[in-house]
């Protein structure tokens, strides 16, 4: 028995540099937080923004590098470095920067401690980035858990609010439940194909003819995998945790869950269906079809009957997830040509929109983070016209109004559905978006037209701190810019078609 040598995989340091930057930033953050007694709150937010911007710059370099040298799969087939991954990484790092900025003043207002919040944001971003680039089911699972565990803590991080703790507990129990389903799906797919590698599964399925027994195991595996991911992206009928968790969690954390959490889980779903399971489209497409239709309808209808704005936006996020599912459904018809860029575009646009919307909500809920009832928005148009205007832009965009980014997003997925002759799904989606428009209209009427009621003048005045102002203005600018001049973002999403398989 001679000493066995271990073959270490070659590591492409440039490609994982964004992950390393964020990871070391998180470590430094935690060390400083442990060593200093009184911490300068704003510095942690600024530090996190600097990290995120540094990561975005490196991601731009990698994007350029892929343009020249092509996409590749690195570290023993574990991570795919392609335009798809970079598009998601830039989106996630951008969301990290925006949410850290909006958290800074939130923490001061709520008198919370919390360099840990930023460390957890960064940790969740690393998990999300690993998920979007993973080329192995196990790496995907590890990324998913890194993201989820950080989000459980973040949801429960407002220690004085019982709602926040309840939200953390519910998210934790149901998230763990979903992870177990997801993992069982991986195990069964591994059992039937003999590999956990995503492109490996794709190769096996495109070449081998299955005997009956293995096929049953594979189908059960695909079903469990979709259930697990459907929980994470919150589509009907796996949505029931979403309203409670979104309402109870601290509002900036809600915006982070709705942007980064959806981004990562949808990107993982996209990669699985386009790389691992394209030959099994006939099997998973009907499931996605049902999930998409249920989500757009149930999400829109239940959103309209809510009285709490955070719950409304949670249901509207379910309906938006349904729209993204429409993009995935069209991948099942004709491959990734139309569906993949449309879904990615939707994800990017929705992330920015939802961060902008929830930032305004977090300012309007006032100290204590409890006033998310729609009545809190009464008279916002008179008190803070600029804030109300920005909120109006976000709401119109979520409704899919032309000249805002939301129109480009919805147009993309419905066009993809129509191109594949899924007319039923396209019509249902359009009807549902009209119903959902009622909800956005209700908030707008409350802001601009509602008469003041007695006691309104005793409410705490809404303060717009500088950092949150930047987030709102930036998100509103992005929304209008993409609405008027969408070409560059559409081109970037189209570039993502060249997946590393």
């Amino acid at each position: 028995m001679g000493a066995q040598t271990i073959n270490y995989p070659a590591i492409d340091w440039l490609a994982i540099a964004p992950l390393i930057i964020l990871l070391s930033g998180m470590m430094i953050n935690l060390v400083i937080a442990a060593l200093t007694r009184v911490w300068p709150r704003a510095w942690y937010a600024i530090g996190t923004v600097v990290l995120a911007v540094a990561a975005i710059i490196v991601e731009m370099f990698i994007w350029h590098d892929i343009n020249q040298d092509g996409s590749r799969i690195i570290i023993n087939n574990a991570l795919s470095i392609d335009h798809f991954a970079m598009f998601c990484w830039i989106g996630i790092a951008g969301a990290l920067a925006l949410v850290s900025l909006s958290t800074a003043e939130y923490l001061r207002r709520e008198d919370l401690e919390g360099p840990e919040m930023y460390a957890l944001y960064i940790c969740a971003a690393i998990g999300a980035m690993i998920m979007t680039a993973s080329n192995d089911m196990i790496v995907l699972f590890l990324g998913l858990e890194t993201l989820s565990i950080a989000l459980y803590v973040l949801a429960a991080s407002h220690r004085r609010r019982p709602d926040s703790q309840e939200s953390g507990l519910k998210y934790f129990i149901l998230g763990g439940f979903a992870s177990a389903f997801f993992l069982y799906g991986i195990a069964l797919i591994y059992g039937s194909t003999g590999t956990t590698n995503i492109s490996g599964i794709g190769n096996v399925l495109s070449t081998e003819v299955f005997v009956n027994g293995d096929d049953a195991m594979l189908l059960a595996g695909i079903a469990l995998l979709i259930v697990g991911l459907a929980f994470k992206v919150a589509v009907v009928p796996f949505h029931f945790w979403t309203p409670d968790v979104y309402q109870g969690a601290p509002t900036p954390v809600t915006s982070y869950m709705a942007s980064v959490g959806k981004f990562a889980a949808f990107a993982a779903l996209l990669r699985v269906v386009t790389t691992a399971l394209p030959t099994r489209a006939e099997d998973w497409r009907p499931v996605i079809w049902v999930l998409a239709i249920l989500s757009v309808v149930v999400g829109s209808v239940l959103a309209v009957v809510q009285t709490d704005v955070k719950r409304m936006l949670a249901y509207s996020s379910i309906s938006h997830a349904g729209f993204m599912m429409i993009g995935i459904e069209s991948i099942g018809h004709s491959g990734d040509v139309e569906g993949l860029p449309a879904t990615l575009l939707y994800l990017m646009i929705y992330s920015v929109l939802v961060i902008g919307t929830f930032t305004v909500v977090s300012l309007v809920t006032r100290t204590g983070d409890d006033g998310s009832d729609i009545g809190s928005f009464r008279g916002l148009g008179k008190e803070r016209p600029a804030l109300a205007l920005a909120m109006t832009v976000f709401l119109l965009a979520q409704a899919g109004m032309p000249l805002t980014s939301g129109f480009i997003a919805k147009f993309g997925v419905i066009q993809a559905a129509a191109a594949n002759e899924s007319y039923a799904i396209a019509i249902v989606a359009m009807v549902a978006s009209v119903i959902a428009a009622l909800l956005y209209l209700r908030i707008m009427i409350s802001m601009w037209l509602s008469d003041e009621e007695s006691g309104d003048d005793k409410r705490e005045a809404i303060k717009v701190p500088f950092s949150a102002g930047i987030v709102v203005a930036g998100a509103a600018f992005f929304t209008l810019l993409v609405g008027v001049w969408p070409g560059w973002l559409i081109d970037a999403a189209q570039a993502a078609l060249q997946l590393a398989k």
Binding site: I149, F177, Y190, Q247
Partner: protein, 108 residues
């Protein structure tokens, strides 16, 4: 007699069935039990059922990959324990003996 013994020799299928049964018990447990700690234990049971199927499948396929996966899953489960117990303890400190039906301020 020898045929009976041969039929009773465990195969990987036995382990897969056992894992499926354990996973089912865990699922039902999460759905029907009302104590957050017990629900959490049921989730751990589900994860370990998956571990058992990974090992059985790795044995069937003659592939080491499935067995190494189990270590990753165990680490993830341990991390979940830390976070989950932290959340449960912080709730129980405010409301001793609460079950998940008591913790239901959020609805609509």
């Amino acid at each position: 007699m020898s045929a009976l013994v041969a039929a009773a020799t465990p195969t990987t299928t036995w382990y897969l069935v056992l894992a499926a049964v354990l996973f089912g018990i865990g699922t039902v447990g999460v759905l029907v039990r009302r104590n957050p700690l017990v629900m959490f234990m049921c989730i751990e049971l589900m994860l370990n059922a998956v571990n058992l199927s990974f090992v059985a499948l790795a044995k069937r396929l003659g592939d080491i990959g499935g067995q190494t996966t189990v270590f990753f899953v165990m680490v993830v489960a341990a991390a979940e324990v830390v976070v989950g117990l932290g959340i449960i303890v912080s709730i129980m400190r405010k409301r001793p003996g609460a079950n998940v039906d008591d913790i239901s301020a959020l609805k609509g």
